[in-house]
Amino acid sequence: MFVSASNYAKNVDSVMLYIIGISVALLLIITFAMIIFVIRYNRKKNPIASQIEGNKTLEVVWIIIPVALVLTMFFYSFSVYKESRVVPPNAMNVKVEAKMWAWKFYYDNGKVTDTLFLPAGRPVKFNIVSQDVNHSFYIPAFRIKEDAVPGRENYMVVKPEQIGAFDIACAEYCGLNHSLMYTRVYVVPEKEFAQWLNGEVDDDYLRKYVASHSEGYKDYLSGSYAILFAKGCVQCHNIDERKGIGPSFPELRRQFARVNVGGKDTTVVIDKEYLRESILYPETMIVKGYEKQAMPSMLNKIKDEELELIVDLLYSNFVKNKQ
């Protein structure tokens, strides 16, 4: 709840507190005045009303005070917001590309990833583009978003400070899987980041680093379907009921799979082993109805840990008949 992972985020929270503080005060004044008047000037107590048509001074005062208050809000807020629009000279560039329904990140040295890795303490300028419809690149823990609009490049500046893993969401409606378009940002120290960028360590090294150096974050999925998007599974499998190129994931709820093994139809229990087999060696057990085009094998395309993550995720979210 209310994770804030940069100075900018803390400043935004202060602006929020300032505005909400004043608002609550005004709300209480209005509400109490209203209730007190209704009780105090009840018809029984006050049978004849006083016909007061107005009061110039009072009315001027309650125009001027709100104007002054909102002006302070405007200036305070704007002074904080500037930080996200002014690009510092030492900023690192990352290109963010949105596409229904996944993110891709391009680093200046040619590295491309589907989860984001950032060094702590260094400002980053995101250049945000879209391949298809509008999306919005949103990192709640940094309190900032900027739309990805096709045909133009938008930018925003962020300076991550805290080591950790934070959600990235799509905040501009983009169709069917809008709500599943999550990925993550991993913030690591400059040194580890540099090693990774130069190819000395891999993604997993950084993930493990984050897992062991930050609070609360132990598994790198926590209920989101990020990895299914990152690994491209959703291009063929839908997370809702509709059939795609392959069967939808919710169909895994059936207890047995009818498959074709070496030209013969049989049934197999859907368990973790079945999931592993289907992902690594799809051609050995082709799901009934999909004989024309088996799934491409994921052998050597995904790492062992990723396979286990996917299997756990599918098993716990979709398989209903657990033994």
Binding site: F2, V12, V15, M16, I19, S23, I30, A33, M34, I35, V38, Y41, R43, N46, I48, A49, S50, Q51, I52, E53, G54, N55, L58, E59, W62, I63, P66, V67, V70, L71, M73, F74, S77, F78, Y81, V133, N134, Y138, I144, K145, E146, D147, P150, G151, R152, A169, C170, A171, Y173, G175, L176, N177, H178, S179, G223, S224, I239, D240, E241, P250
Partner: protein, 545 residues
Amino acid sequence: MANGVLAERLENYLEHKTHKGIFAWILSTDHKRIGILYLVSMVTFFWVGVTLGFLMKLEMLTPGKTIVDAQTYNTFFTLHGIIMIFLFIIPGIPAVFGNFFLPIQIGARDVAFPRLNLLSWYLYIIGGLFAIASLFLQGGPIDTGWTFYVPYSIRTTTNVILPLLGAFILGFSSILTGLNFITTVHRLRAPGMTFFRMPLFVWALYATAWIQVVATPVVGITIVLVIIERALHVGIFDPALGGDPLLFQHLFWIYSHPAVYIMILPAMGVVSEIIPTFARRTIFGYKVIAFSSLAIALIGYFVWAHHMFSSGMSNTSRAVFSLLTFLVAVPSGVKVFNWVATLYKGSIELRAPLIYVMMFIFLFSIGGLTGLVLGSLATDVHVTDTYFVVAHFHYVMFGGTAIILFAALHYWFPKMFGKMYYEKLAIWATPFIFIGFNMLYFTMFILGYNGMPRRYWSYLPEYQTLHIISTVGSWILIAGLAIMFGNLIYSLFKGKPAEANPWGGVTLEWQIPSPPPAENFEEIPVVNHGPYDFSIINGNSDGKS
């Protein structure tokens, strides 16, 4: 002229039938019957919208699928939004109560163009049917959200054109009603009814009508452009065809932001009627309230881009639109102060309409104050397009306008139908509505600040507790709404006959019988005092004339 004996000889508008059966309604050009036509059709659409809202909240009970899949959910919020915005809250108070009471409050027998008025209702119904027809056609119902953002609305395979046409037709209905009201106010005021003797409800309708006439054509043109682009692949908004998606957003919000004032100004007008009546005193700062309506209508044109702080505008535009947004908040705030001040030293009778108004002041203030969070750049780019915004606009539109529509329904019910509603039951409904409402929507502020985006079929498990509270809130709220409408419908048949002036109001509608005669006034009244001049009745011992 407020003479019951004399008036009783006149046939009231419900007895006066120009045609047989249903045709007495759907062919009538009487502004009062047209008002009722709108009321019945709007309440029907409202309940369709509520049902969709109920289903959405049910789906939100768990992450992942609860009752419907993602595609269905996406069509739900789109239809919910379209129905609530275009079929319920925009026509809303002007179409029902404006039609019924604007002519009466200025001492006229009808609006300036009665036939045009009936045409507006037909356009409204046709537009509504178009919007809903996509449900039953191949390709499935529209799934773009009520904002129809391109390029998605150009590319999706669902039925987009039909609901767009619907919105286009509804726009015409709105423009014609606006024209009708402007002309009526200028041409048909009774002798002595100067502008500054008009009730504030009339002022509000007048300001609203100008927005309807000036802003609605922009959205009409925009919609036509989207239809052309979708059907003929002419590049206007879609970059794949050489267009600019931000252009669409600008055009859309140039209408849809002022439309927010189309929704709220008439409600503010109703508040300015109800408070003086139940406090039995003149309104505090009549001119300030009247002019702030105009100010809102005017400045309201220059803040549209605060819906686009994150879509890629220049930094200067962001700053300018943020500043103007803060300033437009002030006149609304001033109105709230004036209303509360009107209760001061009044002689207050706490009846259902006033309870709804108090609920409005609380909920609308929350809506307005959280609007400051959205006008402020630093906080807006965090919460825009999250549940914070969903909460904010429900507080403003539902807690504001819709609650006042309910207040108006109670306030004018005796006049419109000649029956009293049951006060106890009406009051019993309010705590359900109030508690349910806040459970349903206050949780959404927290969800939004925690980063849950809107229009999400599924969500991260950490949001679930708040969603459960919110869903339970929706049940309580809907129960309250059912009690309220149930009471009114029951009273329609079983209510006691209403007096001409049950609340002791002083505007003109209270000086004629309930229900009003077909021609409103036997003789056009001559007006010689302001709208809230209670001195005429304060001399009277029981306060009622």
